[in-house]
Amino acid sequence: MVGIINYGAGNIRSVCSSIIACGKKVFLIERGSDIKKSDIIVLPGVGAFDDGMKGLSLKGIIGPLVEEIDKGKPFLGICLGFQMLFSHSEEGDSKGLGIIKGEVKRFKLKNKKLKVPHMGWSRVKLSEPDNPLFFNIGDNNYFYFAHSYYVQPDDISVVAGTTEYGIEFASFIKKDNIVGVQFHPEKSGELGIKFLKNFLEGIWLQ
């Protein structure tokens, strides 16, 4: 079963629906002990960094989550759920999960024509065009974004895809069993569902 972490913020309903549309069963992770019951963990997210970390902490999810990810359970972080993987964010004072070393930074765009939040459909350019998570999707396709912050990993070898919005930022990372995306696959139409299917089917793990 796919466990979707419910930390009080965000629109988890759409994430659940999109995974159900991929033919999988889902349940909500409400407390630390639920983490173990899941075969795959999804951390969705919209909202503010501090609120997100606080939500995870209040439900006692941080410890068990880090442990299960360490053990190699497939994990997908979406948007804020992706950013929370990192050590620190300019958006708040809370520490992130620190599973991936690096920072989350706010867009400071020189080009005044570019609006913040970055809201809408942008292309994801793959580091490796044949990335199995993008099977049947291909390079340079559009996904839906809604964010004012972007991630900057210390180790750039984890970057699997980038998006250009004034700067080129990491919009898709993969490190072992961990996948993180800045875009919202659950809101990216047909291609978003294909991405989720690829993730859930796990060919990328081999």
Binding site: A9, N11, R13, S14, S17, S18, I20, A21, V46, G47, A48, D51, K112, K113, L114, K115, V116, P117, H118, M119, G120, W121, S122, Y142, Y144, F145, A146, H147, S148, E164, Y165, H184, E186, K187, S188, G189, E190, G192, I193
Partner: protein
């Protein structure tokens, strides 16, 4: 870069689409799920539902509509109309809406913008501004479906809502709305150039040229369309092809 967004807007009353798509192959007349699915298949970039129910019961059905749509439609969904409180916002977001749009309540109670952005994030708070020309480079903000003048100047109000935490502005020209004679380009440009958040242009589109104008000259990030799409004057693909030929980035 981000592609310019084409956003169909559907009016919903008591859980049914009114003024919806005018053609035959929808199974059930006025079903919001069918309408949203149709536009999603047509490559709409987002979808907006405007709840025009007059009663509390009618409004409650909107939550159910949002739930049903979010189960089968996987593009961003915005809901506007009659939202007054943080609880209203939370109910809609939890049901599957990605963004909510507030208009009258934003003017009456600007803290709602601030508290909503703080609690749920700026990206889900759209402030809708209905503006009417009040002189050279001046527009007045109206509320209650364009019936009540507020004394607020539109550009100043736009700056204020951005400061309070709004993530987008949905800007409608009351003068041009329904005329099909083109957008109020000056209004759109004035607002768009004075804020750093995206502006969605609405009101007045009659031709493809009008849409290109409001994007290129008006600096809009998105266009909201209703009857032009519902009456099938243009399909979303036609619009996107046209814009692409004008050098505008679109998601085809």
């Amino acid at each position: 870069m981000a592609a310019i967004r084409i956003i169909p807007c559907l009016d919903v009353k008591d859980g049914k689409v009114v003024k919806g798509v005018h053609f035959e192959n929808l199974r059930e007349a006025g079903d919001p799920v069918e309408h949203a699915s149709f536009y999603s298949r047509e490559n709409a970039d987002e979808i907006v539902f405007l709840d025009i129910s007059a009663t509390i019961e009618g409004r409650k059905t909107m939550v159910d509509v949002v739930k049903r749509v979010s189960e089968v439609v996987f593009i961003p969904m915005t809901v506007g109309g009659g939202i007054k409180s943080l609880q209203d916002i939370e109910d809609l977001l939890k049901s599957g809406a990605d963004k909510i749009s507030i208009n009258t309540a934003a003017v009456r109670n600007p803290e709602l913008i601030e508290e909503g952005a703080k609690k749920f994030g700026s990206q889900c708070i759209i402030v809708a501004i209905d503006a009417k020309r009040a002189g050279k480079n001046k527009w007045e903000v109206y509320i209650e479906s364009g019936k009540t003048p507020t004394g607020f100047e539109a550009v100043e109000w736009a700056k204020k809502v951005q400061k309070l935490g709004a993530g987008e502005i949905l800007l409608t020209s009351i003068d041009m709305d329904g005329t099909q004679k083109g957008y109020d380009i000056e209004l759109t440009r004035s607002v768009s150039e004075s804020v750093s958040i995206p502006v969605i242009a609405s009101g007045g589109a009659g031709t493809l040229e009008h849409m290109a104008d409001v994007i290129i000259k008006g600096k809009a990030s998105a266009v909201l369309l209703a009857s032009l799409l519902h009456f099938r004057k243009y399909t979303i693909s036609q619009i996107k092809e046209f814009l692409k030929n004008k050098g505008i980035e679109v998601r085809l």
